[in-house]
Amino acid sequence: MQEIVKTNGLTKRYKNTLSVSNLNMSVNEGRIYGFLGPNGAGKTTTLKMLLSLVRPTAGEIDIMGKRLNSKTRTELLRDIGSLVESPSYYGHLTGEENLRILQTLLDVPKQNIDKVLEIVRLDRQRSKKVSAYSLGMKQRLGLAEALLSFPKLLILDEPTNGLDPSGIQEMRELIKFLPKQYGMTVIVSSHLLSEIDQMAEDVGIIANGKMMYQGALDRLHEIDTNKSLEEIFLDLTGKEMSL
């Protein structure tokens, strides 16, 4: 299986704090890769480095077989959709107007707006100002923005944050549906093990900026058959986390 994302010795240091340390990440094409770790483990920083929003202190990133640098950045990012930290939107505009701006910038067909609004089930609220959207609706709009160009790679950072149980369930189903329907590769981060367990096929576990485990989720269960997944995870991260 071809690697769509590969990092080599990826490191990010903020003054005296080492946020990400020598991280070797490997994401296979067409899979859902769960990026799991406690709060502050370095998940968001890693994902931001993949998107060129943060400059690595050291290390390399290869995306779709090409080295990510200032020359290839624009070309590579065209094939990546993202929702990092919180959804981005212009509150004074409607959902459709928000997507229209990105559609113009990305130079993708106008019909994509209708398609993504339908996928995230926001087609009925398209004419409503985003400031009047609920958090769940904003999160779905963020996902629609990420999907607008139907990218090869989708990076979602804690996409279920702040959602109610039904919103979480809905988002999870949406994420699972994308690789099957559109052949996308999805990297989804979470601090919730149960979340990743229900969505991902592969998993990368990060703690204190270091990759503690990477591979198929099924194999994680095999590390110690006497222990539950939660116990294995806690052993790996050495930290207490919400399950």
Partner: protein, 253 residues
Amino acid sequence: MIKLLKCEYMKTRRRHVFVTALIITAVMLVWIFPRNHSADLLRLGWMANLYELPLINAIFMPLLSIIVSSRLCDIEHKGIMLKQLAVTTERGKIYDAKLIYGLAIMLFCTVLSWAATIAFGYYKGFSGDVPIKLYLLYLLFTAVPTLAVYIFQHTLSLCFKNQTVTFFAGVIGTFSGVFSLFLPQFPWLRKSLIWGYYGALQFVGLFDWTTEDRYKLAHFDVMGTDWTSFAIIAAACVIMYILGRMWFKRKEL
């Protein structure tokens, strides 16, 4: 770039940025015009305008810059849109498109107030013909310091989430610039502040004015054009643009 400018227009829907800019320009014009002009002042009207307007510009143009740049950039910070834009297009282009869009509004207001000044002179019946070459020079000497101030405000507004920082930096600059105009004995002061160049580039002086006779014996004369100061502020525009763009491109989002 056309695509990005189109997006800037789409983003500012319902934000009334242009209307706000027009209102501030109207306030500036209302401050300048409605006053009684004596026969002496009507005789000197065209030149009197060129003498007085740089001070008015030193107050209003930076304030207009603060408001326009802040309203244009605040929408990106409020909805955390810079992150999304930065993964969609080149950062340098985002900086440029926003700058061009804001400058277009500023330039429109500058030309509007300039044209209104001339129209007002005709309406009031200022003696003689409008000295068009001097008025064009005045337009240039208003536009370039405005460009410098706007680039400064634009960069701050784009790089700082908290627009209060931008506002205070702009207001402090504006007051310093205006203050420097009242200290002609320290010409270096106005030349060391981008806000002081409205005064540094003032090329009309008032002579023989007395409190008793006021404008009876007074006359306005061209003092000479300070092209060195013009070159300095033009260079400041280029330097601020390069540094501001670089800062924005390197900023971690």
